[in-house]
């Protein structure tokens, strides 16, 4: 849920990167962190296991500039993708303003993507949110790998609502900023609508 501070003229919004284990959520945040000017970003925090699997969350604060004199600050979070971390995953979704679903395009991960998307819907519903009503974009990651599922097929399964979709290769950065910009834009449009 957004935090609007009229005293310091700031809008704070929370974006959560969701998706199955090893789909590249943390890699998205790493790339954004590496390619953002020092004055526009804060410290990136990763609460990870010794084998660098996300245990609780990654966190990256970003400033995107001003809109009508208000500073826009985005707090980017990832969830732990592994199935058995569901309790932690649910906690991160609390107060979310926008969601990026990162799908692993490899054919063998198709089931994991579908399961993760269902899990996202279930966890959002527990907070009274509906995915369809939230600013939401889909990223098809790992498009550079062989044996990827065609985008049309992924769309049928993972994007029936036809929200903005982006193909990506997160370690190289392809599609990473396009995805972030798209969800940030949807969130600001949503804020504008909700304040009407």
């Amino acid at each position: 849920m957004s935090f609007i501070n009229y005293a310091s003229r700031e809008i704070n919004l929370k974006i959560v990167y969701y998706g199955p284990g090893l789909c590249g959520k943390t890699t998205n945040l790493h790339y954004i962190y590496q390619r953002t000017a020092p004055d526009a970003k804060g410290k990136m925090i990763s609460l990870a296991t010794e084998t660098e699997r996300t245990l609780f969350f990654d966190f990256l604060p970003l400033s995107l500039g001003e809109i009508k004199g208000f500073k826009t600050r985005f707090h980017l979070y990832t969830v732990p993708g592994q199935v058995f971390y569901d309790a932690s995953r649910k906690l991160i979704l609390k107060g979310v303003d926008g969601v990026v679903f990162v799908a692993d395009s490899q054919a063998e991960r198709l089931d994991a993507n579908v399961e993760s998307l269902e899990n996202l819907r279930d966890n959002l519903e527990e907070y009274g949110y509906q995915l369809e009503k939230l600013p939401y974009v889909v990223q098809y990651n790992k498009r550079d790998l062989p044996n990827v599922t065609p985008v049309d097929e992924l769309n049928k399964l993972l994007n029936p609502g036809n929200v903005p979709e982006y193909c990506a290769c997160a370690p190289k950065g392809d599609g990473v900023f396009d995805t972030l910009k798209a969800v940030a834009k949807l969130m600001l449009i949503n804020l504008k609508k909700s304040e009407r």
Binding site: A7, I67, K68, S88, L91, K185, K192, S194, E195
Partner: protein, 163 residues
């Protein structure tokens, strides 16, 4: 408590009142620094020796900590654990919930004690609760009065942000 979908909105008047209470609490509890953090991890206000601290990270981790503890509470059939205490070699951390919505973080060292911090936090917690309850009403009135600033944002403004 605020509804699940509502935004937290802070205006100048409340911001000043909160700062004033935090400052009084800082002095009375002999604390090193104080933070007020939204349960979703947004920093609302801070006072004391905060220059060397990464306040944004502190806010996010505090909220994560409270969220995880809240999850544990539910597992045990408790509504919430409203106070948390972390003891360090030099600095200690006292976390407590205000109006079930906001987290009050007190950082203190040997100049103070857990007993004193608990006592003073309890005293000022009520005042902070009043402010946040009033803020909720005010934010609702403002958003329904249709004079919102955000409605004036144009699509072009949003596009310009990403150029």
């Amino acid at each position: 408590m605020l509804g699940t979908q509502s935004s937290l909105v802070l205006f100048d008047e409340e911001c000043l009142n909160i700062s004033s209470i935090l400052h009084k609490l800082l002095v009375e509890a002999n604390a090193k620094a104080l933070f007020l953090v939204d349960k979703d991890g947004q920093l609302i206000s801070s006072t004391g020796e905060t220059d060397q601290m990464d306040t944004t990270s502190l806010a996010s981790l505090t909220a994560g900590n409270i969220a995880a503890t809240g999850g544990l509470a539910k597992l045990l059939g408790e509504k919430e654990f409203s106070v948390l205490f972390h003891e360090g070699e030099k600095d200690n951390l006292h976390l407590s919930l205000v109006a079930s919505r906001v987290i009050l973080v007190v950082i203190f060292d040997q100049r103070s004690s857990l007993g004193l911090v608990r006592l003073r936090v309890r005293k000022w917690n009520e005042e902070l609760e009043k402010i946040f309850n009033a803020l909720e009403k005010k934010a609702k009135e403002k958003s329904s009065s249709n004079q919102s600033f955000f409605a004036e944002i144009t699509d072009e403004d949003i596009d310009n942000l990403f150029r």
